[in-house]
Amino acid sequence: MRCRSPEVYKRERELRNVLKTGAEIIWECLERQGVKVVFGYPGGAILPTYDAMTRYSVHHVLVRHEQGGTHMADGFARAGGGVGVAIATSGPGATNMVTGIATAMLDSSPIVCITGQVGSKLIGSDAFQETDITGITLPITKHNYLVTRAQDIAPSLREAFHIAASGRPGPVLVDITKDAQNSTCEFDWDAAAPKVRRMEPVHFPKPDALEKALALINEAQRPVILAGHGIILSGAMQEAMKFAEKASIPVAETLLGLGGFPASHPLSLGMMGMHGEAWVNTAIQESDLLLAFGMRFDDRVTGNLKTYAPTAKKIHIEIDPAEINKNVRVDIPLIGDLREILQHLIPGVKQTDRGAWLAYIDSLKTDSAVRDIQNLPDSGHLYAAHVIHDLWRATHGDAVVVTDVGQHQMWEAQYYHHEKPRTLITSGGLGTMGFALPAAIGAKFARPDAEVWVVAGDGGFQMTMPELATIVQEKIAIKIAIINNGYLGMVRQWQQFFYDGRYASTPIISPDFAKLAEAFGIQGMSVRTRAEVGPALEAARNNPGPALIDFHVEQEDSVYPMVPAGADLHNMIRRPNPLVEKGSDV
């Protein structure tokens, strides 16, 4: 027997240290990326990774449906936790993620989805639980990877995290074959650093573009800032406020922009668009300069493009060049990071007295106030607006509110006044029912000390309610308000307005949600009158654990104002004014 030299011994020992299975590399990478929690569901093709998990510190939340896992990762990211991570097995596990991925894509939310894939030799053979998930998610991810070798896992994962979080954020999927998880290779974190494939264009407007923009801004008589999600994503809250204050320019927010500018600020107008307040949309239509801050002129905020803000020049500050002139032709595009661009603009902005314009917009509010549901005589009925208003009061506007999709989502946007970024989490672009409950779970992991409220409809809640069990298993204190109107309310409203009131398949039966909550081991309450709202909210808030309140509200109330899809932004359906219009529907 030959003796091995000390050098060879040393080398072997080193190798043993750096040789890892692909599955171990996954966790090693997640740990080094700073990931503390992942949301997943096991299955055959991802089993090696689950087995390796036991040797690492990352906390795994067992979800009840992979869609929930992706929404949790998304909610985690939106609440400010950094890149969210969801894990699933191949085939049905992976396809269950699709809705969550598309939701994250349309709202620019940074998540990394890791899916197991059948062995690389079996790919393309219709093997058990094989789906072409990279093909399926190609148009709904920023990028995706099919990884078939252990040595490609670390570079792909590192790059995935970089891509998800950089520029305009979004989802990235990494599909890893079972043999790649099982085989071993040397793990070298540093060598796996994302490679520069190309010069990333450093977008920043040229000085003359900034000068031209400043000239327009300083000349404008009736300017409006359109504050989008980009304010929050770029962390430009301070700059936006400084800019608005210095130039005395009122600020209208998109749905995803809510919280990017404090609702209580005297310059804040409120939400624009389909369900924006009348004065907001009127101000936009009559303005002579629109300053779009990180928003994309979605059809829900513009209405008919042909008649959109006809007299306004448009300056579009946006990080994604592909958004320029997509829906609305702009006069000056300023491509780059909003925060940096505002920092450059602010010194050149002249302090200007726009008192007349602000006073005019203010005068538009009076009529709206009369129509506001909160100012209507108490009919003894419970309205969703009351519930949201009381929730806002009870939580001092400080809660992280995660909404589902429908009428309640719009009422929340109208009646819960968000002061801080990342306190409203909602599916804007895709409008995904079932988003709220799982996204709230993710948000709670990102901000364990925050008070997290779900505001969901009776319809959407039933889409993902099994995640109640996840809450219980994870022992997290989420509060849930169900706005129960017995209808798929938003669709019912469209049927009322545009289909002669034929309520085809919109009445919806629900279980007794309070009892259901109790069955999961969660405190459940039912509320039917305004007087009960406050005490129920307090009981829920005082409970150290999770709680659910089922608010039985007026069944056929509608969200006002409403700009019908594709109509001119100033042509709103208004809440009937009880003082002048009889036969109101409220």
């Binding site: 190609l138 099919l146 494939r197 190309r198 994604d320 060049p321 592909a322």
Partner: protein, 187 residues
């Protein structure tokens, strides 16, 4: 193609990897833009392929296609060369009926077009032509009466004139000024 639409030519440098063509093509498919012609091949640099894509779209759409193509991670550079002075070529192989009596005429036509007869069989011949779209179409029109049996075309390949290459190297910028002194003229 509607009135506002015209043929736009995109030159892309992409990583030579599985699935990249799919990502690029998907961008057009998703917007229901028809790709008129597509050519992909290796370049002077290992691991990097060059694509030439011709699609009939409006000016605004072309700008957004360019921006969206650039968002693809595997795309290293994109350029819409429609408004730049370029050399564009494609190749066609055309098999025509060629009985004894028309052979002479066919060879005469081929000669005028600087095309080549690359195969001759008792009753047919294959003519190979390299050229612009217009030139190939003109030849095709002339051969029609003889009876075209089969025809195959490559996608267009396009190169900008002068010493500058299309925006290829990292960080290298290309002047798109048509008055650029580096631009040579057609021969």
């Amino acid at each position: 193609m509607s009135e506002s639409e015209k043929l736009h030519i995109f030159v892309l440098y992409v990583e030579n990897q599985p699935g990249v063509l799919n990502r690029v093509a998907s961008l057009f498919r998703r917007r229901a833009y028809n790709i008129e012609s597509l050519a992909v091949g290796h370049t002077e640099r290992p691991g990097i392929s060059r694509m030439t894509i011709v699609a009939g779209i409006s000016e605004g759409a072309a700008q957004r296609v360019e921006a969206n193509l650039y968002k693809l991670v595997n795309v290293l550079s994109v350029e819409d060369v429609t408004h730049i002075s370029t050399i564009a070529r494609s190749v066609a192989l055309i098999k025509v009926e060629a009985p004894e009596e028309s052979r002479h005429r066919l060879m005469e036509i081929a000669r005028v077009f600087r095309a080549r007869v690359v195969d001759l069989a008792p009753n047919s011949m294959i003519i190979e032509i390299t050229g612009t779209e217009e030139k190939i179409r003109a030849l095709e029109d002339l051969l029609h009466p003889f009876g075209i049996l089969e025809m195959v075309r490559t996608g267009q390949v396009v190169m900008t004139r002068g010493v500058k290459r299309a925006r290829a190297r990292q960080g290298e910028t290309l002047s798109t000024d048509p008055g650029d002194s580096d631009v040579s003229h057609s021969v």
